[in-house]
Symmetry: C2
Subunit: 549 residues, 2 copies
């Protein structure tokens, strides 16, 4: 209870924010607000990890494996992690569960909050670990892997805290029968579902995994994290910290385990199908996600591919519009699940204060904005690296012949890293008839600008794509109140959220914890939402018992 008392204010504030949906954050996402020496010591700590065995998990293993490759260096990091068979992982999880399931939610929340505090101490090291596995630029790596991931973790902790306390532990119930009260003593228990498997992705290893990890832990389930073999280090670091706090607090560190595999011998399927795995959180491609969703007797929380549209009709400020979109698509070379892919512009142009910006003019402006951004001092770091060669090839595979090249994907110089795998954003203008080209996810540094007959047609196409392939975001620029309401209504009915007229430093890619849900769980891009009540409540079962004397 000591740790709970230490952290309860933060949990209560988070709960308040979760209800009010107002701005809230646990740790600053500005690296400059941290002690100056942290940056250097973080870098050193990361460098010390290179070409060593990662022993911090305190796992004894006879087999150590690792195949991470830095997208900046394009060479292996040489870090190896302890391999454990699925059976060993499951056995350890079961053993740890005996204790963890019986810990009350106050204590669990205290332990988990303390773990976040320890993770905070390693934000800079974590940034470098994230850069050199995902390819993100430093600032994004810092923000997404550290403070923003912790915000999402706190969301799960806080919502779990309140949901598990929804019903009284004990109640004396009385029924009056024939003028006499008959008492029955009742209790109510939130019983955890069982072992939770988290299948992480290569682009946002901590951000996309923390919600599931902390939601499962706060509800009393043991966790096995199966990282992407190319993005293990950020999870190894953070899981080590959680394990240390568990151990210090008298619990088994195996309450959370890292279950590494390799590209040659993947374990996700074996683990997912194991009868003792009851909960599965997954971020990744649609095919494997759909397979997981159909597994019998598993409760799944998925985030799969998406096809996020931008619909442009009119604007008060064309420059702000173009610059906002350019930044959104540049961020991490469009390797974010929330990044726009298809930009719909009517052939009649975009209505502005004093006339129209033509389709071709918009394309030129977008190209210029992208070029300008890359030319800025912070440009290359905004784009970062492409995580893997498949992504490069996928984008290269889209033939220029199908439309008009606005901007081709080119390598650009990454300061300090001559070997970085970089690509500028490819922009292809296509006619709305080319649906076979743009109505599918092309994950990576490319966007389509689609010329449509009218905004009505843009809406129709955007909706068709989003309904068929899923959408996590939708961005609309329009000054027409009624049109906006219509778009909101129609996309919301398809369970897709809409952002309108974003300019300045608010980007469609970024979902603010405590305020914005990430994913709705209602369209084919995934069946889960960070962090709505279902994300917590499906992880345990209410059981009530009755006692008479």
């Amino acid at each position: 209870m000591q740790l709970f008392n230490k952290h309860k204010e933060v949990i209560y504030e988070a709960l308040e924010a979760l209800s009010s949906r107002n701005f809230n954050t646990i740790y600053s996402d500005n690296p400059k607000e941290y002690p100056e020496e942290d940056a250097e010591s973080g870098l050193t700590a990361f460098q010390m990890k290179l070409n060593t065995d990662f022993v911090e998990l305190q796992v004894n293993s006879e087999e150590w494996i690792g195949e991470e490759v830095s997208p900046y260096l394009q060479s292996g990091t040489g870090i190896r992690y302890p391999y454990q068979t699925p059976d060993v992982l499951i056995r350890n999880a079961k053993e740890s569960w005996k204790m963890w399931r019986n810990v009350d939610v106050e204590e669990r929340s205290g332990v988990l909050m303390e773990a976040l505090e320890r993770i905070k101490e390693r934000f800079f090291e974590l940034s470098y670990a994230t850069m050199h596995t995902t390819g993100q630029g430093f600032t994004m790596a810092f923000q997404a892997a550290g403070p923003h991931a912790c915000d999402r973790a706190l969301e799960a902790i806080a919502l779990g805290f309140t949901e598990l306390k929804r019903y009284p532990e004990q109640v004396k119930w009385e029924k009056w029968i024939g003028g006499k009260a008959i008492p029955v003593q009742k209790n109510y228990k939130p019983i955890p579902r069982g072992i939770s498997l988290i299948i992480a992705c290569s682009t946002f290893p901590t951000w996309n995994s923390f919600p599931g990890i902390f939601a499962s832990l706060i509800t009393g389930n043991p966790v096995i994290v199966k990282p992407h073999p190319k993005a293990v280090l950020p999870l190894a670091i953070t899981i080590s910290e959680i394990r240390k706090v568990l151990k210090e607090s008298g619990f088994r560190s195996d309450t959370i385990q890292l279950g590494v595999d390799s590209g040659m011998n993947p374990l996700a399927k074996t683990l997912a199908e194991h009868e003792d795995i009851k909960l599965i959180d997954y971020t990744g491609n649609s095919q494997f996600g759909q397979y997981l969703e159909t597994l019998h007797n598993k409760i799944t929380f998925t985030e799969k591919a998406s096809l996020n549209p931008v619909i442009i009709d009119s604007t008060k400020d064309i420059e702000a519009l173009v610059s906002n979109i350019a930044f959104s698509v540049s961020l991490y070379s469009r390797q974010m699940c929330t990044a726009p892919q298809n930009i719909y512009v009517p052939e009649t142009g975009i209505k502005v204060k004093d006339g129209y910006v033509s389709f071709d003019d918009f394309c030129d402006r977008l190209k210029n904005a992208l070029d300008d951004l890359l030319d800025k001092k912070w440009g290359p770091a905004t784009l970062g690296c492409v995580q893997n060669d498949h992504t490069v090839k996928r984008v290269e595979g889209v033939s220029m012949a199908v439309g008009k090249t606005i901007s081709d994907a080119k390598e650009f110089k990454m300061p300090d890293f001559k070997t970085a795998r970089t690509r500028s954003i490819k922009v292809l203008a296509v006619d709305s008839g080319k649906q076979e080209i743009f109505q599918k996810e092309v994950f990576g540094p490319m966007v389509f600008v689609i010329k449509t007959e009218s905004t009505s047609k843009s809406i129709e196409l955007a909706l068709r794509g989003a309904e068929t392939f899923g959408a996590i975001t939708c961005l609309v620029y329009s000054n027409e109140f009624l049109l906006n309401k219509e778009i909101e209504e129609r996309f919301n009915q398809a369970f897709i959220p809409v952002s309108f007229n974003l300019t300045g430093n608010i980007f469609v890619n970024q979902h603010a914890a405590f305020s914005d849900f990430h994913g709705t769980g209602g369209n084919v891009s995934g069946n889960a939402s960070f962090v709505d009540p279902n994300f917590i409540n499906k992880r345990y079962v209410w059981v009530g018992n009755r006692y008479m004397n």
Copy 2:
């Protein structure tokens, strides 16, 4: 809003009870507390329905069908209902949804509460309708079909009311960037999932359907109820009342529809697989339930077969114990999903104050208690009728040769109904080795008394059966505190609730709304729980939108 203001106190009280889990009820379950003339006018109203077309639904149809048979009269009721094709039902539901989805939750809750008030006016008619379709005795038919079903409906309304108001409709969110607050206007909407199909059963047509009906309606989904062809009338009456209130309030009556089918041309599968059906509530056999649970892109709420155990170790009052069990198994001839089937007694006997009650002695006492009960004036009505011949044959199909007959199932006289399909409770004592006999559901008037080596063995067998075939209840008699805690722990881990030492007028079959969850959703007897947060929250999706100027 008028109806909301009229009913809001009841909703707020229900919400309070749902949290405190204290006793709460909306309508008295004692028929004597209703105006004297109601009983007679209810009977008349029911009799007037016989051999007529049920026009109250105000549905135009060219085909009228009906095949209900009264288990009391063993002759057809002659009531016919308007048949509509699945396509017509779906089209009507979609059309009605356009309006209902946009109604705010206050207004929805007012309309639904008003519908319960109207249903209350027909409690007696509903009782006779329930008697002559399910075979229940009058008192149970009154209680379960009327007030208790309305309590479960109110649970769903109240929980829906509060969950849909969990997040603000609008919020002005502000992020401080560079000393300046950047405002974003956000809204949050609970978007209903889509058309809800309720597949009802023949034994508790209203009680088991009301939670799903009202949960779907309060969350904005249109409902199609597919009744069991042998138990339509109780749903036809209640749905008519809901439709009338919807119409009076300016909404489409087709927001809820009755979709009848026949034994020869069942429609459950066709409807369930229809792409526009998004939610399915089901009560019935395990095979069809499991099939529904595996349907892709459907959210299912199931209640299937169960194998409810009684474990007897020791007691302070053997007579109260025997009488409690005798009543529980007699109630509606053990056609309740909550009724015990397997009674485990150690071969060393049941420990009582001054020694042991032997296994054989217990069997004799149970037989005598069952006989005594049936001899009482209210005995036959407590057992009621067996709903259908399959149930009779199923029980007859269990060979006496496998154990020792304690009591055979015999026809008994039902006052006023010479033709009633009745059976007393068959009791078979078997050795614990005969698992192939008792480790499966034998729905209907029979129980097994199982002789085990010890209470430990009883626990093991009871748990094995419950884990394999599901359990909705478990009843334990024991004075040992530590043993009880162990049983509670082990059964709860299998997501099975336990009731201890029930005597007097508290029976394991009865789950009190607002206090007891019905089903946990965690074991194979079903994936839903009346009414936990998941039962509401899985029926809609939170979607948030963001606006900048």
